[in-house]
Assembly symmetry: D2
Homo-oligomer: 341 residues x 4
Amino acid sequence: MKTIKMGIAGLGRLGLIHAENIHNMKHVELAAVSNLDESVNKRIQEKYNVPYAYTNFEDMIKNDDLEAVCIVTPSSFHTRHIQLALEHDLHVFCEKPIGLEVESIKQTCRVIDESNKVFHLGFMRRYDEDYLYAKEMIDRGELGDISIIRSYGIDPIAGLDSFVHFAKKSPSGGIYLDMSVHDIDVIRWFTNSEVKKVWATGNNKAAPELNQLNEVEMGTVTMQLENNVTAFLVAGRTASHGYHVETEVIGTKGMVRVAATPDKNKVTVFNNYGVVRPTSQSFPERFKEAYVEEIKDFVRCIREQTKPEVTAVDGLRSTEVAIACQHSFEEDKLVEIKYEG
Amino acid sequence: MKTIKMGIAGLGRLGLIHAENIHNMKHVELAAVSNLDESVNKRIQEKYNVPYAYTNFEDMIKNDDLEAVCIVTPSSFHTRHIQLALEHDLHVFCEKPIGLEVESIKQTCRVIDESNKVFHLGFMRRYDEDYLYAKEMIDRGELGDISIIRSYGIDPIAGLDSFVHFAKKSPSGGIYLDMSVHDIDVIRWFTNSEVKKVWATGNNKAAPELNQLNEVEMGTVTMQLENNVTAFLVAGRTASHGYHVETEVIGTKGMVRVAATPDKNKVTVFNNYGVVRPTSQSFPERFKEAYVEEIKDFVRCIREQTKPEVTAVDGLRSTEVAIACQHSFEEDKLVEIKYEG
Amino acid sequence: MKTIKMGIAGLGRLGLIHAENIHNMKHVELAAVSNLDESVNKRIQEKYNVPYAYTNFEDMIKNDDLEAVCIVTPSSFHTRHIQLALEHDLHVFCEKPIGLEVESIKQTCRVIDESNKVFHLGFMRRYDEDYLYAKEMIDRGELGDISIIRSYGIDPIAGLDSFVHFAKKSPSGGIYLDMSVHDIDVIRWFTNSEVKKVWATGNNKAAPELNQLNEVEMGTVTMQLENNVTAFLVAGRTASHGYHVETEVIGTKGMVRVAATPDKNKVTVFNNYGVVRPTSQSFPERFKEAYVEEIKDFVRCIREQTKPEVTAVDGLRSTEVAIACQHSFEEDKLVEIKYEG
Amino acid sequence: MKTIKMGIAGLGRLGLIHAENIHNMKHVELAAVSNLDESVNKRIQEKYNVPYAYTNFEDMIKNDDLEAVCIVTPSSFHTRHIQLALEHDLHVFCEKPIGLEVESIKQTCRVIDESNKVFHLGFMRRYDEDYLYAKEMIDRGELGDISIIRSYGIDPIAGLDSFVHFAKKSPSGGIYLDMSVHDIDVIRWFTNSEVKKVWATGNNKAAPELNQLNEVEMGTVTMQLENNVTAFLVAGRTASHGYHVETEVIGTKGMVRVAATPDKNKVTVFNNYGVVRPTSQSFPERFKEAYVEEIKDFVRCIREQTKPEVTAVDGLRSTEVAIACQHSFEEDKLVEIKYEG
């Protein structure tokens, strides 16, 4: 079987996870890294025996050895990096979100559309076995018609100080774009329907200094979908108990909860605190397998010359909805979403 | 200890529960029943050895033997029955809601205020040990500052046909007034804050014929409170698994869920369906003890000449908010609530 | 309805629970207490308005006002107190165990047999709704044929020091007689079969000083029943998490666990320890309702002149098995049990 | 990195799992298969691009390309295959048990001892993240001193008919050797202590025809360890709910349960059966990751020239204890175990 040579752009926390997963795959070679910090590049080159390293994305994609690239650069670079990579005839895996502005995403979508390369978007929940199990139940009709969806993504409070620190330097884009896009994608995926109307609220009770920064520590969104499903989202940064990602689907025939409690493992501890289930503490821990599976699927698509289930339009829609949420929060009003083309 | 003689008005499903609980109390006598159906009256008279029976509330309250009355008549009669009972110098326990219209409730509140009799309102969740445990955690500060509350009340789907049947004959007043008042009361109780703004949605996917009746089978409300808490409510009639009443409180220091799953008991069954927890099937089952405790507290207040923690104003506020929810649902818009006096 | 006047003997921890439950029952009067400590008697007399108090059981049962007596005296007095009460024509409720020695229990059984008074034995688990639910599943055949039963009774470690303190003064009779009798009764009740063979082990790892006192801090028993069920018991005094009473039944068609975790209530807490379920801390808390129900059933038997389901022979058998367990532990061998008459 | 060429012997259910895991590893090649059924060999050769296939173990190990072999042949061949492979200078991974007879195992241990090749024994629970988490808690002292261990391994009843079918053709060696060895190994691993005394019981209530075959459908073992821990084991073939592997450790400072319920995933379903957790249905599903991890560790040991934590003596001890259990069951008595050298 032919070895696929892949480059990776961005070696932050999530970039390092993708690098390891790419490296571990059989018949795939992590052949290049592109990252600003040369010392990190060097470490990864040695760890995984990577032949090439760059401090510049444009340089990496000119390397003719490469067949594919995994983009984990800051979100604001995504649309440009995707387009450049496709122009250089590289298959592209890109972390969510596809971009931060609707116009540039739309333009990117057109470039993707016209390209014959694989474009894969990193909505890893679609590769998580728990989410897949729920999706299959829905598709088999076991829950009946969906009425309500609830979806939470709450980061551990342990990271709050560091978030405040970084938010002071550069804005995160807002909690809805930064975090809720995953939940928005899940809702669209589960319902096959589009979001019509949103009302977003938020507060900063643990870190009031975020108020001045126009950031939100705990945000909610209530959404009405075209098929008359109501969805309720929580995105937050203050979970004392760990990394809480949970999704509930209420249908006319049954309900399902994915990860009602963010169990770390199958262990139950009986101690002086009561009966305790240890919890996941981070996204790399919670979605470890899903990150592996999504890259595997990317590689499968390249080999089989097929398109992934998740598309660039899915990325566009999530961002459009997230932007409407931010707008709703800032104006404190119901916002109706208009989709064009 | 002096025996308190109590009458009960209304012997529907919940009336029968109160009748039994009153009967079982030591030093309390169920001394009169008032109910339209004489055959039911007769049955209860025999079962609990009740001396008097009436088919008319006005007649019962003239009985000088009585010291207190428990009102479980249809909601639309509540304000009138409360006032009549107080005028006859009876202590009053009244089931929620205190009334269906703001003006008549306000007037009733004034009558209650001017009376020196005990007025007790049937928000039984305030007497449920699980809700009390959560309330105490909140009050001790163990959850920190509250950011988000979520509260569900979903009836078993087994009762849906019968609901549709009755809704065709006479309107329920809407799911928010009928069901959400309990959740609204919990939210006010837990936060000590008032609801400022609501957005209500609803759908009828299991029983679409409800659309014509302006009824809702699954309703949601998103609320903003004065202290900037966001609350999300679900009221519904289609739970396949039983009677689902659940409340979640998310604070800056921790989260708590009351009845995350509506467990019937402490039994776990391992069978060909998987690992199964049997579920509560009805409010009498779920809140059995709470119904006993609230009547006990009513009696305690009478004996000790004190006022219950829950007041007529709590009843007024819940109804005001529920009416705003119904309004929001019908107009499909955000509704701001103004409280006067 | 005629009021039943009942006396209580013994006002220790469990005696006080029974006293309150008797007092709270309608048409039942707690008419006398008998207890060595006069100050406790006085307190209970005032609290429940009890007309008579004695420091001597023999004196109390001569009181002709009494119709029934509740015996909660130390276990070594049970057989004698039961016989005396029956001789004075009193209905008898007696806490487990019926006695500590086989011969005197057998003789007491004969006296009970010849009497026409109600004799009720305090195996409260038979009145616990969770145990009843499991029993009904078994009787309906939902678990198929039973293969294995596991039953735990573990006291909170918080009480260990106090246990060691008392054990130094006077022997407890051994953990099997003191604690396992409840589990033995459950096993006989669930299986309708007798224990044939036992192997008991035990250790003292938290309180090694118990070794010299021939006491056991954590004991186990493995049992073979006549119907070839194997049962495994744990009785202990060192649960860090609370009061752990759990029973599992494994059948050919399913398994069931009663109180797999000793949940205090329906609340789940998400905090820095993980996802935590608070736990029951004591038998009064865990079996609060069961203690009420067993006294209610005693009163029902008196009124309806019927016999309770649990009999004196059930008491005899549990003690016989517990004695065999103690014997097995001391000799470190398999012990076969012979039942005569 | 040099590619390790590995052969596999035995392509039954578990053999196929190992074949896939070996194939998927980077820098490892599944270079040969040995299996009686040529059609299976052919299928696997094509699927994983395997150069060599044999119907005879002796032939495969002569292939000089191979550096290591994975033995998944029937248990009765293990000792001979291990010795042959080591004689041909191959690193050996062998599925449990190391053998069925004490003498031949001891002799094999000597051969292993004298060899400088890696010998790895397939106790996959030692590589399961849940078991590892519990082991680490024990080693950190969080549970205090261990008093009691309980360990269950119960196969789904779906496989019972097929088990009866095969048992009629050839004996399984008994449920203790076939299944309990895993639990015995866990107990030794968790306690660092040896089993001193055992009492085994068993019954056949779902498949009584097993009685004639001297087989056991539900077996239990109670064990006393040298450090005075009591262990209780259940091995069975009749779980209605799936594949139930659970281990509990009770210590003086806390308790822990590994997989108290055999959850398939993190999904909770609320349907007309109640609140349902789907369950694992088989060992390949439950221990999917552990099987990957143990082969990874085998490869790591080869590369780093180290010895695995689990040794041949661990295999010997488990078999010795299992044989004592079978003996105890057949004679219906307590059996003391003597270990020599």
